[in-house]
Amino acid sequence: MFSIHSTEQLLKAIALASAVLSVLVCLWYIVRRPHLNRVTKSMLLLGLGAFPLIVSLTGNIASFEYTLSRPFCGSCHVMGPYLRDAEDPKSNSLAAMHSRNHKFGETSCYTCHADYQMFGAITTKQNGMKHLFKYLTEYASTGPDGEGGPTIHLYKPFQSGACMQCHSATAKKWVETHGDSAEAIRSGEMNCIDCHNEVHPLALSRRPKLTKGGVQ
């Protein structure tokens, strides 16, 4: 039912337990209607103040952690093809190969698509809110994989900085294999996905009009 194997699950358990305690205190007040004496006020301060605060803190952290995970990104139906490809053990797309990485595979969507900058987490979450708004207004009534909806595209061209979090652009082997392009890639004139463009092939095949370079 609810087993604890990670910090996120522990936080969720604490949040749920605190929510239950808070509701119990509230129900006790509604049923018993005790006088507003010191004991009642202290109990209510726990039920209306302390426990909800714990729920809010632990719940927010746990929820934020969950929003980084691949299942969360795939929970909107338009992401179905992307998710299926990423989770396909036989797929050789970049998304699938990175999702099989044991270091960050479970958060592969966020790892590659989050803004790689000082306030990247904040701007990425702002974009997430935009995703939700667009989903509700433009994609909610589309087909099982988002057929009939507008083309899905990135808000800005994919930056190679996301790749370079792990793939060093100064390693000797990398410089040798990338030859004359190395400097152009490092400076941002060229993008990794200009050549390594098998990122989300299943989704691209469903939307044949798409072109590379800022659109996936």
């Binding site: 007040y29 509604i30 006088h35 004496n37």
Partner: protein
């Protein structure tokens, strides 16, 4: 009067907290994007409002009692009306 008003405010804040807890707990159990956003905005908003209402009620209650602590057994739910003339205890 203020005491009754405080009790009503506490009741509203208790109901508000229950609603907020249901929002937040459901977002933890079923973490769908829309539910998460609702829990983090509306749910927490209701919880904060409920707590503020409760603190206001406590302040009102303290004001009505003049800041004097009333133990549970002494705090009357309804004040007894003064005895009618001629029905009081016999004069000694």
């Amino acid at each position: 009067m203020k005491h009754e008003m405080a009790k009503k405010m506490v009741l509203f804040s208790v109901i508000g907290t229950i609603v907020a807890m249901i929002f937040m707990a459901s977002s933890i159990l079923f973490p769908h994007p829309l539910l998460l956003v609702l829990a983090m905005s509306i749910g927490q908003g209701i919880a904060i409002f409920a707590l503020a209402l409760y603190l206001l009620a406590v302040a009102l209650d303290l004001q009505s009692s003049g800041g004097v602590y009333i133990p549970a057994e002494e705090s009357p739910a309804i004040e007894e009306p003064p005895p009618a003339e001629g029905t009081g205890p016999p004069a000694t």
